[in-house]
Amino acid sequence: MLNQLTVSELAAKLARREVSAREITQSCLNQIARVDGKIHAFLSHDAGDALAQADAADKELSGGVKKPLLGIPIAVKDVLAVKNQPLNCGSKILGQFISPYDATAVEKLKAAGAIVFGRLNMDEFAMGSSTENSAFGTTKNPWDTARIPGGSSGGSAAAVAADECIASLGSDTGGSIRQPAALCGCVGLKPTYGRISRYGLVAFASSLDQIGPFTKDVRDAATLLGVLSGADPRDATSVPVPVPDYAAALDGNIKGLKLGLPREYMIGGLDPEVKAAVDAAVKQYEKLGAEVVEISLPHTDYAVATYYIIATAEASANLARFDGIRYGARIDGSDPIELYAKTRGAGFGPEVKRRIILGTYVLSSGYYDAYYLRAQKVRTLIRNDFLKEFETVDAIVTPTTPTAAFKIGEKSDDPLQMYLSDIFTISCNLAGICGVSVPCGFTRSPKLPIGLQLLGPPFGEARLLKLAQAYEQATGWHREKPPLTAGA
């Protein structure tokens, strides 16, 4: 089945003219028709448009054109603007919004020849860890449809894990790429803050948000990162650091590289099967020639609290633009203030309201210093913990999540418990470093994927991916397919 292959495998077949972009695209569309009713990864997709893009790619291919993603179908999270396609952010408040332009990341995918199609489900405005906060229904985990796929980019992870597309894009503010990748059993990369332009990404928390790829192996993540990276005059926070050839750095030789194991991550809530899988991964790294040392990130325990002040404060400001005036749904009022309040009260779901109100509170007069300013100072301490350790280690190894995928409804009534499920991924965003999750095993019964997280220094993606790929190639966990897909 073509839809089960990786970007690099398909690119080789396309180059040899063994397959056409239309055949690949059709096999993805067939898979969507077969399984999406069970997992609901897609909010919508335009099959005719995808096939038209495929035909255009085939024409280029037969003309000898070479581009890194030519003819590869890639789907995107519903938080990225794709010209003339709907954009809802998993929310009702955007109504019938149609994007008037392409996000820079989307523009770069298209320029690289990708077939960009589909709107992938997510927690409303990327706020959540399960996709249960989507206004359009929950996405299900392809490994067990009674369970969540993770979030907020749950649709992006489930679609790749179920082979409905070859790769996808998501966004990560506190783990929203790495956590669902771990829970669905694919590779999820959160690049360094500033690595990829965020122009056309609907903002949640501007000092934390970053776009990144979901893929079936690490090589594909490297290829996509190379395509997506680079400074952009339309995003002042994108950083002008040169973009290396990430795929070329994957030489498998990790002898002498040093990995840090933070003692603070071996916490009580860590599931024994997850711990065993991570311990085995660490042993595998030693076998491959890496050196593993224990390190300390002393402010780990404060990361979740810091995050939920900073992220909600920034969200309360960013989401002020959804006011029913310039776009989206509107509920009329006798004056503008009543119009705003009614529109936002009806348009936002419970989690978004909770965060906007918490964010407004921590920024409000009399509380700013006690909450927001203090959180920004603790953020400095968290960042310094990482930078200090990166002076001696090449990467840090942790579980991506404390447990495998939980059941739908299990945590939806307890926001704090839901927030604590992000405990291992949040620090990376606060510190502005890069991180990747790769499959590292399964729980026994039910069989659910477990993710290994590798964290690297700012703009250290090349070495991070090299480490991830060496492990992946030595173990092969990434090749396992959920029964739902394999049975097709």
Binding site: A305, Y340, G345, I357, T360, G432
Partner: protein
């Protein structure tokens, strides 16, 4: 600064979010729990620690002050809930 002090109705007004009485009650309890958890940041001594607003220290990112193409007028209005004569229609603000 006790968590129970949060006046949800007032903060929701500041945030321009209309809430039902039910939502107000539920949010007060949930936010109380979350703020209680957040209180743990008080354990740390942050004297002389500089705040981090952005993880990447870029400053004064500027571009040349040149005319560039922008979104066409009709495109910018395309998603407006109400519009007329090339303008967004809003309720009356001044009498």
């Amino acid at each position: 600064m006790a968590a129970a002090e949060i006046d949800v109705k007032y903060v929701a007004h500041l945030a321009r979010v209309a809430l039902t009485p039910d939502e107000e009650k539920k949010l007060a309890a949930q936010l109380g729990g979350i703020l209680g958890y957040i209180e743990k940041l008080r354990e740390l001594d942050v004297t002389n620690v500089e705040p981090t607003a952005h993880a990447v220290p870029l400053v004064n990112v500027t571009r040349a002050d040149e005319l560039r193409p922008s979104l066409p007028h009709e495109e910018a209005l395309r998603n407006a809930p109400r519009q007329a004569n090339g303008l967004f229609i809003v309720p009356k603000i001044v009498e």
